[in-house]
């Protein structure tokens, strides 16, 4: 700007945050299911952030006196074989399950996204190498592969995150590759070459921002899958270990009691798992509507 401070001509916000919020509001009011998904996400986030402070009981405190009690006013979801409050455990577990999903998705987004974009943009050997890596991963039954990775690397939460990221790698790499390949010869990319941008700079400043929305949708959809995967690994005894509160372990522990009639131990962690996966899948549909430029008329 020049010395004249007024310069009211350069208005901000015509394409900024305000417009995005307005558009989001439009999409949500157009399709209430998206609104529901966002509400469910809010519930999950509150549970994950404030869980330990709002639960009525200590999730780890066992009390054999009140073991295996059905749902009641004191214990909303009942208690397990050690007398721990299932409601408290379900709420507290949200943080761990969500954290595993978020970190693994973030990891695979960075690794798979960059590899895929580079493959689509540069083609040639980069494309061949990334493509064959994807093929190799896809050749395994993915859950078995994840089991193998955790078993080989060691039984820790970090390794669950890594394993979940690896099995999702092909999904991200392929989406990013396809989207980057479409834009590789686009006019604005050519124009960027003319203005003296190097190929890597074009990849990061021209291609990446344009395929980000599509990747966001992909992220939301794989998030549910990542939660299921982490819970699945814990269910079979890999990764998170008792007595840590985690939905997969809780379902596994409860499974043995279903035959003897104590259904609530497995049911409530299972329902919360379903709630989370359902939330992220619905969110994916909504996000697709929000980022789809065709709906921005």
């Amino acid at each position: 700007m020049t010395a004249v401070p007024s310069a009211p001509s350069r208005r901000r916000g015509s394409g900024g945050l305000a417009a995005t919020l307005k558009h989001a509001h439009y999409v949500i009011s157009d399709n209430p299911v998206t609104g529901l998904a966002f509400f469910m996400l809010l519930v999950l986030v509150v549970a994950a952030v404030f869980g330990p402070f709002i639960v009525p009981h200590d999730p780890l405190a066992s009390n054999t006196m009140s073991a295996l009690q059905p749902p009641s006013a004191t214990h909303w979801f009942g208690t397990d074989q050690l007398g721990r409050d299932i409601f408290s455990r379900v709420i507290v577990a949200t943080r761990l399950d969500l954290a595993i999903a978020v970190f693994s998705v973030a990891l695979v987004f960075a690794a798979g996204g960059i590899a895929g974009i580079a493959a689509g943009f540069f083609g040639g050997w980069t494309d061949r190498i990334v493509g064959r890596i994807c093929d190799t991963i896809m050749a395994f039954p993915l859950f078995v592969l994840a089991m193998g990775i955790v078993a080989a690397l060691g039984n820790t939460v970090t390794n669950i995150v890594i394993a979940t990221a690896i099995i999702n790698f092909p999904l991200y790499a392929r989406v990013a590759r396809a989207e980057a390949a479409i834009r590789r010869q686009a006019g604005f990319v050519q124009a960027a070459r003319l203005t003296g941008n190097s190929e890597w700079r074009i990849l990061l400043t021209q291609i990446l921002p344009n395929i980000l929305p599509i990747m966001m949708v992909q992220m939301s959809l794989t998030m549910g899958y990542a939660i299921l995967n982490a819970a699945g690994l814990s269910f079979i005894g890999l990764g998170v270990r008792p007595p840590t509160a985690e939905w997969g372990i809780m379902v596994a522990e409860g499974a043995t009691f279903i035959v003897s009639g104590e259904w609530w131990i497995a049911l409530f962690p299972g329902l919360s798992l379903m709630f989370a996966v359902f939330c992220f899948n619905l969110l994916g549909d909504g996000l697709r509507d929000i980022v789809d430029p065709q709906r921005r008329t």
Partner: protein
Amino acid sequence: MHGVVDPASAILASAEQPHGKLLEVRDLTVEFATRRGIVRAVEKVNLTLAKGETLGIVGESGSGKSVTSYTVMRILDRAGRIAEGAISFSGIDVAHASEREMRDLRGREMSMIFQNPRAALNPIRKVGHQIGDVLLQHVQAEPRNVKEKVIDILNQVRIARPEERYHAYPFELSGGMCQRIVIALALACRPQLLIADEPTTGLDVTTQKAVMELVTELTRARGMSTVLITHDLGLAATYCDTVMVMEKGKVVETAPAEQIFRNPQHPYTRKLMRATPRPGIVLGDLLPEGEGGVAAHSAPAVATSDVPLLKVENLIKEYPRQGAPSPLFAKFTGKAVDPKDAIFRAVDGISFEVKKGESVGLVGESGCGKSTTSTIVMRLIDPTAGRITFDGQDIGAIPARSFAHHPIRRRIQMVFQDPTESLNPRYTAARAIADPLLRMGGMGGLRGGAALDDKVEELARMVGLPADLLDRFPHQLSGGQKARVGIARAIALKPDLVILDEPTAALDVSVQAVVLNLLEELKQTLGMSYLFVSHDLHVVRLLCDRVIVMRQGRVVEEGTSQEVLEAPKDAYTRELIAAIPHPPV
């Protein structure tokens, strides 16, 4: 319009319609429900089409010309609805007809030719079968004689070797051929009304001429009525009996073709007429009266010097031919493969010069190698052979890959064909213009800031882009504004040579007029040289001192614009010039 009809008895009138009228539209208003409320795309449109008449609907983008015709066919988008008015088609009330009745009408009684022939054909079905489907659907043929009938139709649309082409897929045919197939599809059931929505946009001028002549001839022979929707006044003037001009959803003028060109009544029609490039005018004539553009380019402010800025010698670019028979194929079929068949020469040994301060036009039809040539000169791809000298330096030897960091990069810039596609959808106008300044103008880093903003605003002023639009994203700008952003970006570094790759092909004529004048003005103030790539000789003549005509990778004619357009030496140039439709001067 022909005669006055009492609007009160719309349905009654349509029933006892006088003989000879095929289509009558009265007070048609079409509304679209959008996020910003109801938008009226078409308002109170009246039109009458007699049997055997050809009506041209002319207008720029957003004038409602396509919506009007879609409404007649009742193929509007779900968001659109007929708010008011009556449409009667040979006595049938189209506005209130059931979907079932309409399905019967479409194809049999009225049909349509779309803008992009390739998109209108099913890519994975043989064209012969596609025509056959329509015939069978409307019981015009039986399964046993359908092939005969299709071949008969292919003959009528003058497709050579129809027995062979019956089995072709759309991708195996050229754009002109595909449009002939679409015409064959549209005419298969001998409809009474043909609506052609920009049928030749995207086709070469010579192909356009062949296609339009085919349509006129076939419709005349069958006594059909035609509605030709176009943005090109010249096309409408050449092929229509009556012309209707639309602006912003309203009809501004309807008159017989000769009359509308000899004596246009409405100011908008006059503006359109003026903006259409035609023989015998100068650049400033394109703009509305009183907005006199730049001085005629015949008297350039910057004297053209004799120093060649760009010199291209024996440029060759070869590509492996797609779908070329491989040696393996030859082994199985026993046919020998000619090595010549495996390689395709897009550019076949061309040489030319661009002097300092000169504008040179590179003209030819699609596939002639003009875009390949400009992309090589731009150093985005490497030539197979040949020398490119820029200001004394051999830039052809620098690989395209590393040219981005070469000091000459900033001296050669380009304005792209499609202003929308050439702007990053996630960059604001200001950011797009600033990009070259940041990368090569030494304004990167933290030092930029205020100086950069000033420079961007100055550039916006130069190209006539209001400063308050600088923070908008491409989808919030109009076509003309996007073109201005593209031009501002190209001139940001004060380049010596700017390659203009059909910079106005995607723009309306009135916007094209403004942009062409802007380009000429910028050239005079900044003293740049232009290499103007285009298929339209009339546009090239307005902006360029010299013209190079290319065909199949070779230069067929070269000379001053005047010479080439007024006394073309080559037969192909003559054919090109003759094929351009233009309104009577």
